[in-house]
Amino acid sequence: MTFGWLINLACRRANLLRLLGLLAMAWSAVASANCVDAAPSLQAGGVRINSVWREFNPQGEELVRESGTLTGSEITAAYRCDRWHLGARLSDLDGVRHYDGQTSSGRPVLSQSAIRQRQADLQAMFALSDSWRLGGRVTRQLLWRDIASASGASGYPERFDWSLLSAGAQWHSNFGTGQLSLASWAGKQLSSRMVITLPGRDQATLKLGALAQLEFIASWRTRVRSAWFFQADLGYRRLEIGQGEPSIIRRSGVPVGVASQPKSVMTERPIAIHLGYDF
């Protein structure tokens, strides 16, 4: 019984496990390498994101549009070993998005959603030349969205949980005392789901449609004092979530309806300011 459960878990997580395995190999290879040129660094800073969330019905009509600002902090650890560049990043953001949507019967409603967003990235890049790097990245994101009740319609909490595997390229060049870098990433989902608790209903887990993400980041880094440096990032992210599969909604175990997550598009424009240290 236990053995079967382990096999099932391994199968379900196969893609994620493979990717984590590759990353672990890359990290261990770097760690065991006799680096001629090694440079660890750590940076922390604040992030502000303009976030827009839209939902569409199968006919492509917009059902919901939310927009607002999320703020928070992030910390990044990086390690360079010769031509390998490894990084890990954690971020924690929250804020409010204004909700312009509709009730389950189609009546227009204005409300707001409280948002909390946690994200973890692991990435490995290889320097092809002095200016170009190629690499991969795994992202895990948890997104809490609590829609407030309004106009006689009940809100409810949702929790999205997804992981993405991305491939990316980075170009960088020195300009005066600073360094400009431009990066782009394209990602597909490894796993995704959404947990929803409708008012008076049992908690349900909804399958999301396919996820795809595009991201562009421009960074400017300049040294402020010996090992200390300052970095500013300006980005654009577009995450598309396909129409999800319907799941049964129950009340005390009795089916009373179905729910699905409509096609959703999240567009974010992050601005981040970091202070870092090269060890």
Partner: protein, 353 residues
């Protein structure tokens, strides 16, 4: 003259719809009758009340019993809608369709009247649906170019009609019974019968079907002063949620609802409902219910803040639901039917509806 009356009737219907949107009261009661009515199968209209065993009320079954009875019989409260984040669908899709068609009844009758020169001629028209297909409208007017008379009706039949909730099939018949009063004010009376003949909405998510009918009579006597009566011998809705079936039948249902205006556009709605609910969630057994003290819901609340409903099961076992406030309900159980409630618990309205 006929067209003038139809315009007035349309105004009233529009007014009623707006009232429903404002306080959800009509929708709730209508939804109750609608949801409760049919039970299962067959393509019939009004039929005999289902013969089903009476369900037991025990500490184990009381929660499902309360939920099934209240969500069906007190559907007026089901007007508490959810905001779209995820998209949800349930039997209410049938209800929304019926209401939308009810508001179009004057138009259907007017079109039939314009195109008819012979007494009793049935006029037809086809109305395109939002996402493909059409609705086939067959309207019958007894007195062309004259006043609407009792018996005028429109039958709406789905023809691969695709709307947001799914593909519509089967038919809905709206029969005009009476209309009187000063319709340009808040003083009028109207009566309509809605008959469901295998009316179904199907999508990849859900397949719901209604059979039966209910009569709706309304009398307005000023702004936010409205009295409604709903009745049905039998109305049922069956649903298939991704392969899991559910059927609920409302029998011998009679409901009255009265809204009275208060200060600053506020109002209070009181209602009482009596009848029987048969549900597949209760092994297709039946529970009777009657209102001991009318429920009262204020316009700013999502749920009633007072009122008592008594549910009766096998061997005279009883479950008494008392609204404590606009969010909670006391649930008391007399499982052995001796007239003494030996157990009680507090639940949220949201868990019942």
């Amino acid at each position: 003259m006929r067209q003038l009356l139809i315009k007035k009737f349309k105004f009233i219907t529009t007014f009623l719809e707006s009232q429903m949107q404002i306080n959800n009261f009509t929708t709730i009661v209508l939804s109750t009758a609608f949801l409760t009515a049919c039970g299962g199968g067959g393509g019939g209209n009004d039929g005999p009340a289902p013969v089903a065993a009476t369900a037991a009320l025990t500490s184990t079954t009381q929660d499902v019993a309360a939920q099934e009875v209240v969500s069906t019989a007190l559907a007026p409260l089901e007007l508490v809608q959810t905001l779209t984040g995820a998209q949800t669908t349930d039997e209410g899709a049938l209800f929304r369709f019926a209401l939308a068609q009810k508001s179009k009844l004057p138009t259907y009758l007017m079109n039939a009247s314009k195109n008819s020169t012979l007494v009793g001629v049935v006029q037809t028209e086809t109305v395109a649906c939002t996402y493909g297909g059409s609705l086939y409208i067959s309207a019958s007017v007894a007195n062309p170019n004259g006043e609407p008379t009792a018996g005028d009706s429109a039958t709406i039949t789905g023809n691969n009609c695709v709307e947001a909730d799914g593909t519509i099939s089967g038919s809905l018949r709206l029969t005009f019974n009476s209309l009187s009063g000063n319709f340009n004010t808040d003083y009028y009376s109207a009566s309509i019968t809605l008959s469901f003949d295998n009316l179904a909405i199907a999508s990849a998510q859900i397949n719901v079907r209604a059979n039966g009918s209910f009569a709706l009579a309304e009398a307005a006597n000023g702004y936010n002063n409205l009295q409604q009566t709903y009745s049905t011998p039998s109305l049922s809705v069956s649903a298939d949620y991704a392969g899991e079936a559910r059927t609920r039948t409302l029998s011998g249902f009679q409901a009255t609802a009265t809204r009275t205006s208060g200060a600053n556009d506020s109002y209070a709605t009181s209602y009482s409902l009596n009848g029987a609910v048969t549900s597949s969630a209760m092994a297709s057994q039946t529970l009777m219910f009657n209102t001991i003290t009318p429920f009262v819901e204020f316009s700013d609340d999502l749920y009633p803040s007072s009122g008592v409903l008594l549910i009766t099961g096998a061997a005279n076992a009883q479950l008494r639901l008392t609204a404590i406030n606009s969010s909670q309900v006391t649930q008391e159980l007399d499982a052995n039917g001796d007239g003494s409630f030996e157990g009680n618990k507090t639940v949220y309205w949201s868990s019942l509806l």
